[in-house]
Each structure stands twice: as structure tokens, then as C-alpha cells.
């Protein structure tokens, strides 16, 4: 059992690193590959937690994450990028340096918030909670600092990964949670897909400028 915690921490740390790296990426393709690495690490963490807690549904969750998030999602994202030939750089709403500093501040806040929690849950230590909270906050930061609709979606999916990481760490969490998270990803993906093609018909571009122009007209 001595190996359980340190390995879980390591996988969590890798995922945190990917989420943090997303902040600095300028190109969509790099963003998608970072997301893929994060998804694969999540699958490994799920399998490892399954092994540590001898829970069958954790293996099942790991499998679903592998199929949907690690394989299908990146393929679909790459096809969209290819379809709209969006290889060019993603302009960020905030200078990269500033968003990096904000990222660090967010991780600091996550740690500050988690410190007073004294519960000594079997598998999930305070550090694990801090890591998953940080990934969620970083995902949100990615969403708020990107103007491109697709990069916002990837930020959203990174937040989902943070959630699943937290869910895996919960001891004896009923299966319902994981299934619904997976469901969410699936449906979200579907809906996003539908939107993207709709937006395509109307604005000929994935960039949110078209949509933002409508809002500025004001109603």
C-alpha cells in the first residue's frame, strides 16, 4: 500500500502540469495534444485507483475515459481543426505572461483553501484535493482567456478531467457520479459539434468575433 499515495500524486502532478501548460499554448494543435496527454494520465490514474481501492467501476471509468476522452475527442477535435483549416495561432484575450501569473495565483488559492480541511480520508489526501481543484480552476482560466470557441471547449474539457480526477479519489463514491460525468462529456461533445457546424454556416469562422459582434449590437 505504501506505493498508492506517491503514484497517485505523481499522476495528479502530471495532469496539473498539462493543465498549466495549456495556458501558454498559442496553437490549437498543441492545445489538443496537451489535452490528450492529460486524458491519458487520467486513465492511468483511474486504473491505479481501481487497483488500490479494489473497485470494479473505477476500472470501468478508466476504460470510458480512455475511449471517449483520450481517443475519440482528440480525433474529432483534429478533424474540426482540419475542416476549418485553423492551424494558425490562437489569439489570446490576455497576454500569456499575465495568464501564467494568474495560474500560479490560482494554485496558491487552491492550496490556501484546502489547508484547514482535517479529514483523513483513506485514499484522498489534502494534496490530491488541491491538485484537482487547481486543474478545475486552470481549466476555467483557459476558457476565460481564449477568444476561439474551440479552445474554450478544450478548457471546459480540461475542467472535466479535474472533476473526474477528484471523483476517482473519493473512497466508495457510488458509480453514479462517474457515469454522469462521462455522459456529460458525450453530450457536450455532441452539442458542441452541432454548434460548430451551425456557426460554420452562419459566420464562416470559428472565431467568436461573429458572435460577439451580435452582442455588441445590443438589444
Amino acid at each position: 500500500m505504501t506505493l498508492t499515495y506517491p503514484l497517485a500524486h505523481a499522476l495528479g502532478a502530471v495532469m496539473l502540469l498539462c493543465a498549466f501548460a495549456m495556458l501558454s499554448q498559442r496553437r490549437l494543435a498543441a492545445l489538443i495534444s496537451l489535452y490528450q496527454i492529460e486524458a491519458i494520465t487520467l486513465t492511468a490514474a483511474a486504473f491505479w485507483q481501481g487497483f488500490a481501492q479494489h473497485e470494479i467501476n473505477l476500472y470501468l471509468t478508466g476504460l470510458i475515459t480512455l475511449i471517449i476522452k483520450a481517443v475519440l475527442a482528440p480525433i474529432a477535435l483534429r478533424r474540426i481543426v482540419h475542416h476549418f483549416n485553423l492551424i494558425r495561432a490562437v489569439e489570446t484575450a490576455m497576454p500569456v505572461g499575465l495568464s501564467m501569473i494568474l495560474g500560479v495565483a490560482l494554485i496558491g488559492i487552491a492550496v490556501l483553501v484546502v489547508l484547514p480541511i482535517t479529514v483523513n480520508a483513506v485514499t484522498l489526501t489534502r494534496e490530491d484535493l488541491a491538485i484537482s481543484l487547481s486543474i478545475v480552476l486552470l481549466g476555467l482560466l483557459v476558457m476565460t482567456t481564449r477568444r476561439n470557441a474551440l479552445s474554450q471547449v478544450i478548457g471546459f474539457l480540461s475542467t472535466e478531467n479535474g472533476l473526474v480526477l477528484a471523483a476517482i479519489g473519493m473512497p466508495g463514491m457510488p458509480f453514479v457520479a462517474e457515469l454522469s460525468v462521462a455522459l456529460l462529456v458525450l453530450v457536450a461533445f455532441l452539442v458542441v459539434g452541432v454548434f460548430v457546424f451551425r456557426i460554420r454556416e452562419h459566420f464562416d469562422t470559428l472565431d467568436l468575433k461573429g458572435i460577439e459582434a451580435i452582442e455588441r449590437r445590443g438589444r
Binding site: 476555467l140 474554450q152 472533476l163 473519493m170 453514479v176 460525468v181 452539442v191 454548434f195
Partner: protein, 484 residues
């Protein structure tokens, strides 16, 4: 198979079946039949509330009946709406629309009756996705933009709510141990004192943001005005009213966990300040945003944000009377708002169908000239929102302000300012909406029995506010004392 589970299952199962019906009108009639059945079952839920995952407590029963009633009257109005609108949009679109109506009803009832915080979260998520699809139905650029905004903001809110749910489960470990019991609301409420206070506070913040987004509290309200203004009106405005109540009740329940934990000396912080901040922000920002709206549905969407803010403020103040006032306020506001939107839909239908631009104030002005009864009913509904005496909201606002004075005197200043701003901005529109000369070429048209339902709603509001039956008074004060 308890009545509560039945009430949830029927609409969810009926949704795919109705989606198969080709003709929009038959779809609307089927939708009405299912809704009537569901309403009768919600009345029966009082007898068999069910156990385990689906267990309706008295709060759930009352709001379940309210949701059933609203869905019923909306379904009745829906037939006239569909008859006027079926020329726009493809048949496929109407099938999706009626399916979404049923899913919205089913998920709302699940949100009310669920005893499991995970199931509650799934219900709220399902309702968000159904509403998002509903908003995107008209396929116009503005509808798409509103739907995208709804999805992004709603998705983020849902994610935060899930994280909060997981943290609540984790905080329940020391008291309830692993497994399903740690996620049961009644179990959590029973031994709230033994939860891990610090973790529960963190969970509460995420839950407040998650369900706050669904309840459209400022600054999480971004999606509501545009969602209300786009999409087929009965789905996006009338049916989504009860959904706000589900989120507000969730916030109330989690607030109780925090308050009980704090009272029992746990490490949890007082939930009051969080709720008061969001409530006041909602009141003041909507008060200012209402002043310049030109579209009726967006205008009354903002008014819904104001009333959610007022309810959350009442919960933030705390104490049995304030919570009683908050709950009564939610009931009365839902009745008034749905009556108002139904009247607007009838008005727009009489003024040449529900095309997107049809809900503008300048287009709907002078309703009295089109139909006398509808004009007065519309005026009465808008007036009821304001809180001047003949309207029921006067009672609840009176109670909330009196409790604020006694418990947090300094907060009565921003509260009074917010209420004043909103009331003036709303009442300003009655003049043009009802009494102004109508646009050129409008001719008087009999409105049919739609107006009767609107008047029924207003009568229910007056009865509940001024002459509430003693049984309901006991039930509601029991709930309020329980959730103190």
C-alpha cells in the same frame, strides 16, 4: 414504484414517444394529455412520497404540485401557441420542441423529489441541456448565440455544482461513511452537525455557484435574459420558471447543512454573507438593467433574476419567518411570472404570430385595444410583479423587509433601494403596454379562453398571499422552522 418516481418516469419516457408524432398539433395534444396525467400524479405524491433515491419531502411535494399546475396551464396554452406557430419551422423542430417540454418537466420533478444530491445534479444537468436545445430551435443567429452562451455558462455552472456535490460527499465521510447514505439529503440534514465543517464550506461555495448559475443570480445570470428572449416562448420562459425554484431549493437545503453545522459548533462558516452578497447584487444590477430593455421577454427575464435574488436574500437573512417569506415569494412569483408570459404569448399571437421581433414593447403596446380582457389581465400581471398592495408579493416583501430590519438593519438600505429601482422600472411599462394607442392597423380580436387561465393564476396568488388556508400555513412554517 412510488407516485414520485412515477411522476418523474412518465414525462421522461413520454418524451421519445412524443418525438415520433409527426403533426405539431397532435404532438401538442399528446403533450397536454401527458401533462394532465403528471399533474394528477403530483397531487398523489402527497400520499406516497417514495423511499431511497426518490423521496419527496413536504417542500418537494408543495413545489411539485406547483410545477405540475404550471406545466398543465402551459400545455393548455401551448395548443393555441402551436396552432398559431405551426407554419414557422419544420415538423422535425416541433417534435424536438414537444420532447424537450416533457424532458424539462421530468427533470424539474426529479430535481424536486430527488433525495440524492447526485440525482439532483443529474436532474439540473438534464434540464440545462433540454433548455439549451430548446433555445437553439429557431435557428436564427441570435437564437444560436443565446444557446451557445447558455451552454458555456450553464456547462461551467454544472461542472462547479458537480465538484461541490463530490466535496459534500467527502465532507459526509466522517459522519456517514462511504456509500449511498452519504449522498442522501435527508441523512445529511439529520446529522449536519458531524460533517467536516471546513470541507462543507468549500463545497457550499461551489454548490452556491453551480446552482446559483441555474437560479440566475448575478454575476452568474448572463445566460437567462438571452435564453428567455429566444426560442419557443412556452418552453424557454414558462416551463423554465419552476426550474429556477429547483435551484433555489437546492441552495436552501445546502444552506441548512451549513447553518446546522455552524450552530452545532462545527468549523463551517455562516452561510448568510455569501447569500446576502449574491442576493443584493442581483437586486441592484437588475434594478439598473431593467431601465433600458425594449424586448418584453428579456425584460421579464431580468425581473426573474431580481426575484431569485430577493428569495436568496431572504434565505441569507435566515430565521423561520424570513425563510417562510422566501418560499412563499418563490411560489407567488412563479405563478405570476408564468401567468404573465402566457398573457404575453397570447398577446403576441393576437398581434401576428410569435416571430422573433414580436415581443418588443413597441410591438405589443396598447393591448387594451386588441382585446379588453387580455389587456387588463396583462396589466394586472405586470402590476402583480411590483409588490404594491393588491398584488400578493406585497406580503412577502413586507415580511422580508421587516425581518431584515430586525436581523441586519444596515442591509435594509440596499434592499430598499434595489426593490424601489426594480418596482419603478417594471411599473413604468404598464402604461405603454396596456393603455397606449396600439400600432397602426391593429383590430380588436376575441382572445378565447386563454385569458381565463391567466386570471386563475392571479386568483391563486391573491388567495395564497392574503387568505392562505391554515393547513398550508402550518406546512410552510413547519418547513421553514426545519430549514432554519
Amino acid at each position: 414504484m412510488s407516485a414520485a418516481t412515477l411522476a418523474i418516469a412518465i414525462p421522461l419516457l413520454a418524451a421519445p414517444v412524443i418525438a415520433l408524432i409527426g403533426a405539431p398539433l397532435t404532438g401538442a395534444r399528446a403533450n397536454l394529455c401527458v401533462t394532465v396525467l403528471v399533474f394528477l400524479i403530483t397531487l398523489a405524491v402527497f400520499a406516497s412520497p417514495g423511499a431511497g433515491l426518490i423521496h419527496a419531502d413536504s417542500l418537494g411535494v408543495i413545489f411539485g404540485i406547483l410545477t405540475g399546475f404550471i406545466a398543465l396551464t402551459t400545455a393548455v396554452q401551448n395548443i393555441a401557441f402551436v396552432r398559431a406557430e405551426q407554419s414557422h419551422g419544420s415538423a422535425r423542430r416541433w417534435r424536438v420542441y414537444h420532447a424537450m417540454c416533457q424532458i424539462m418537466l421530468g427533470t424539474t420533478l426529479m430535481g424536486l423529489y430527488a433525495d440524492n444530491i447526485g440525482l439532483l445534479w443529474v436532474a439540473v444537468e438534464g434540464a440545462t441541456i433540454a433548455a439549451t436545445l430548446g433555445v437553439s430551435l429557431p435557428r436564427t443567429a441570435t437564437a444560436l448565440e443565446a444557446a451557445w452562451k447558455y451552454f458555456v455558462l450553464g456547462g461551467v455552472g454544472i461542472a462547479l455544482a458537480l465538484f461541490g456535490t463530490m466535496l459534500t460527499y467527502l465532507a459526509a465521510q466522517p459522519a456517514l461513511g462511504p456509500g449511498l447514505t452519504a449522498m442522501s439529503l435527508s441523512a445529511l440534514a439529520a446529522n449536519a452537525g458531524h460533517l467536516d465543517g471546513a470541507l462543507m464550506t468549500l463545497a457550499f461555495v461551489f454548490l452556491l455557484f453551480g446552482y446559483g448559475t441555474k437560479a440566475a443570480l448575478v454575476p452568474l445570470h448572463g445566460w437567462l435574459p438571452d435564453a428567455y428572449a429566444e426560442g419557443p416562448a412556452p418552453l424557454t420562459t414558462t416551463l423554465s420558471g419552476p426550474m429556477l425554484n429547483v435551484a433555489l431549493i437546492a441552495i436552501l437545503r445546502f444552506r441548512h447543512l451549513m447553518q446546522a453545522n455552524f450552530a452545532a459548533g462545527g468549523a463551517a462558516l455562516q452561510p448568510g454573507p455569501f447569500l446576502l452578497t449574491l442576493g443584493l447584487a442581483s437586486l441592484l444590477l437588475t434594478g439598473l438593467s431593467l431601465a433600458r430593455r425594449r424586448d418584453a421577454r428579456r425584460f421579464f427575464g431580468f425581473s426573474s433574476i431580481e426575484h431569485s435574488g430577493l428569495a436568496v436574500f431572504a434565505f441569507g437573512i435566515g430565521g423561520a419567518t424570513a425563510i417562510f417569506a422566501g418560499l412563499l415569494h418563490m411560489i407567488l412569483h412563479t405563478l405570476i411570472k408564468s401567468a404573465l408570459f402566457q398573457a404575453l404569448i397570447r398577446g403576441a399571437a393576437l398581434r401576428g404570430g410569435g416571430a422573433p421581433g414580436n415581443y418588443g414593447f413597441s410591438h405589443l403596446r396598447g393591448m387594451l385595444a386588441t382585446n379588453k380582457y387580455l389587456g387588463w389581465a396583462l396589466g394586472a400581471c405586470v402590476f402583480a410583479l411590483v409588490g404594491l398592495p393588491p398584488s400578493g408579493l406585497f406580503v412577502t416583501e413586507f415580511l422580508i423587509v421587516s425581518q431584515t430590519i430586525q436581523r441586519a438593519p444596515l442591509l435594509s438600505l440596499p434592499l430598499g433601494l434595489g426593490l424601489l429601482l426594480c418596482a419603478v422600472a417594471i411599473i413604468r411599462n404598464i402604461g405603454p403596454l396596456v393603455f397606449d394607442p396600439p400600432p397602426a392597423g391593429t383590430v380588436a380580436i376575441p382572445a378565447g379562453r386563454g385569458v381565463g387561465l391567466v386570471v386563475l393564476h392571479l386568483a391563486a396568488v391573491l388567495l395564497l398571499a392574503f387568505a392562505m388556508p391554515p393547513a398550508l400555513v402550518l406546512a410552510l412554517s413547519g418547513i421553514a422552522a426545519g430549514l432554519q
